[in-house]
């Protein structure tokens, strides 16, 4: 130990500056080493794409021609979700083997639209959006027609391809 009054090489200002820089840099690097994986982990789901997944709805015979019914698309890939990753769709049989399926989410802010069969209208409970049978906007704030899901049949069953939540 030397006395603080006698300057020596060890407390030269340039040495202090160097030590301060090294310490700050090491601190920042350590912080980044911890933060980068954690942040990447948290934002990774935002980059995930919807899997190209067909969900089986049930036998085609369940659907009567011209009728529009709500169907539930269960998610077998994420059983830990409970009901949360289920999706609703409105399905109409338009021919022996042809179907249309609408997303149940209003294009205004995503609330679940309801089919009023006698009026042949989809109505949104939140802000009063109105769509006709083909999903075109008739009244209210929705900016776009109802989104449609891809549909196919296989072995007498109706299959719907789920898509991500329809967003603006």
């Amino acid at each position: 130990m030397h006395s603080p009054d006698t300057p020596s090489a060890t407390d030269s200002p340039s040495r202090r500056r160097f030590l301060a820089r090294v310490s700050a840099t090491l601190g920042a690097l350590a912080a980044a080493l911890v933060a980068v994986p954690a942040i990447e982990f948290v934002i990774a789901p935002a980059r995930r794409r919807m899997p190209n997944e067909w969900r089986r709805v049930g036998p085609v015979s369940r659907f009567r021609l011209g009728e529009t019914v709500a169907v539930r698309l269960d998610d077998a890939t994420r059983p830990w979700s409970g009901d949360a990753s289920r999706v609703a769709a409105w399905v109409r049989r338009t021919g022996p083997e042809s179907f249309v399926a609408f997303s149940a989410n209003c294009t205004h802010l995503g609330c679940p639209v309801r089919w009023v069969a006698d009026a042949k209208l989809f109505l949104c409970p939140c802000h009063g959006g109105v769509y006709d049978a083909s999903g075109l906007v008739q009244a209210g704030p929705p900016p776009r027609p109802l989104a449609r899901y891809d549909v196919t049949t296989e072995g007498g069953d109706l299959l719907i391809r789920v898509a991500s939540l329809p967003l603006a």
Binding site: I43, P45, D75, D83, R86, V87, W90, P112, L121, C126
Partner: protein
């Protein structure tokens, strides 16, 4: 007792906490600090109560989409003290929103954001944002039908942002659609992330009060706040007429905070927590999502805006609001603090409170929402008539959805005009062309009604002629 005071002296010697506490408790406050100054401490007390009840709830709540709803049922209906604790957390959330809003309005009205307290204002703005995010994520954690749909509606709003919208929406949902991580990440944000930020923000907010002193009441202020002279003037003011914060000013904080806590417990006991809605099944289309009361005004705004204004409002209004709050202490950091010289401040606060109040009222009424549950008229006395066509028409009035938007004899929706006396406004051909062609916000019914059905509905509507 001697042992206790020896332990106290030992702790004080080793930690120095006595000095630190004294420095805080005895920091001088200017004369005239009155009941206007109790809102910040009350907000803090409400927050601490939220921390306590929140920790308690988290010991039973299961943050999993498969079990959250059932665990909330258990908390509310079966757990000892569960109804009260959930009620306190729920009422406490409302208290936080009201108190932080009042505190914001008060600091704006007394211009306490001016030099040298700009950072106090900015840390307060950050805390306000945190409290709003807590209110939103808390509503989502009440994982019932409204909770699920609040995630969807928020994602849709975020997605309107240019460029980053979709990513933000997916970040909120934890993927391209609602799923298990929607709830898990909201739980993490509500329980770990934002409370941590709030603790940091509060520490900063209080440290700034100690450093710069509480703002003197405007009526004791100099005519103009001038950065060159203000600090010396303020030191002088405290030396001349300063009081120790504890207990000269703190007693008011204690009284008001006590009343706030009593109100939270009292309301939790009497009202109980927000009732749980239907189970959180996003495939159940029988839903009428509504936000909690503090967001209802925004819900109403989004229904009532003209279509052309909606996109700019969703994207720009929050941005402009945030920028205005951040810029305020820099744009208006000096000058007079007297309300007499700043009458617009009173007008702005009155306008904001009035607007939010009015939109909240409209949100409760929700005239734009179809009344799916409207009672069919066919069974009521309103449809008692000798005309069979009119009786059929009364039934059709419900089944064709007319009644969801129009009321008749006091039953039905309020989106469109009341049709009880429609014949006073429209003659026979006008009525028919209106039904067939629609107009305004009404869809055309030409393809939705047969000729007989149209005749029946018109007969019903013209019954009262």
């Amino acid at each position: 007792m001697r042992v206790l005071s020896r332990i106290g002296r030992w702790l004080d010697d080793r930690s120095g906490w006595g000095d630190a506490l004294r420095r805080f408790a005895r920091h001088p406050v200017p004369e005239g600090t009155d009941w206007r100054y109790v809102l910040g401490s009350a907000t803090l007390v409400a927050f601490l109560a939220q921390v306590v009840t929140g920790i308690a709830l988290s010991t039973v709540y299961v943050p999993s989409t498969a079990s959250a709803y059932e665990s909330l049922q258990t908390i509310t209906h079966h757990a000892s003290w569960g109804r009260l604790v959930r009620g306190m957390h729920d009422v406490g959330a409302s208290a936080m929103m009201i108190l932080i809003g009042a505190h914001l309005a008060r600091t704006y009205l007394t211009a306490s954001y001016k030099y040298p307290r700009e950072l106090s204002w900015l840390s307060g703005v950050m805390l306000l944002l945190c409290v709003v995010l807590m209110a939103f994520s808390g509503q989502l954690l009440r994982w019932d039908q409204d909770g699920v749909w609040s995630a969807v509606v928020a994602a849709e709003q975020l997605s309107r942002m240019p460029v980053v919208g979709r990513s933000l929406a997916h970040l909120l949902l934890g993927g391209p659609s609602v799923g298990a991580s929607t709830l898990s990440r909201s739980f993490a944000v509500h329980v770990f992330l934002i409370p941590g930020l709030i603790f940091i923000g509060v520490a900063l907010h209080i440290a700034l009060v100690i450093r710069n002193g509480i703002s003197e009441p405007p009526e004791h202020s100099p005519p103009r706040v001038d950065p060159r002279t203000y600090r010396a003037w303020y030191r002088d003011l405290l030396a001349r007429a300063g009081h120790p914060f504890w207990p000269d000013a703190a007693w008011r904080d204690a009284v008001f905070a006590f009343l706030v806590v009593v109100a939270i417990v009292g309301l939790a006991l009497t009202l109980g927590p927000h009732a749980l809605g239907k189970p959180p099944d996003p495939s159940n289309v029988d839903a009428s999502p509504r936000p909690d009361w503090y967001f209802l005004w925004y819900f109403a705004l989004l229904a009532m805006l003209p279509k052309s204004l909606e996109q700019p409002v969703i994207v720009l209004a929050p941005l402009i609001g945030a920028i205005a709050l951040v810029l305020l202490p820099f744009v208006g950091g000096t000058g007079s603090r007297h309300l007499r010289q700043r009458p617009w401040a009173l007008a702005i606060v009155a306008l904001a409170v009035g607007t939010i109040g009015w939109f909240t009222y409209e949100g409760y009424r929700a005239p734009w929402s179809p009344r799916f549950a409207a009672e069919p008229l066919a069974g009521t006395s309103l449809a008692s008539t000798t005309s069979s066509a009119a009786r059929v028409g009364a039934a059709l009035f419900h089944d064709k959805g007319c009644e969801f938007c129009h009321s008749y004899g006091g039953i039905g929706g309020i989106r469109g005009p009341d049709l009880t006396h429609v014949t006073q406004r429209l003659n026979h051909p006008q009525l028919i062309s209106r039904i067939l062609g629609g107009g305004g916000n009404m869809p055309p019914f030409a393809t939705r009604l047969s000729d007989d059905e149209l005749r029946a509905i018109v007969a019903f509507l013209e019954m009262k002629r």
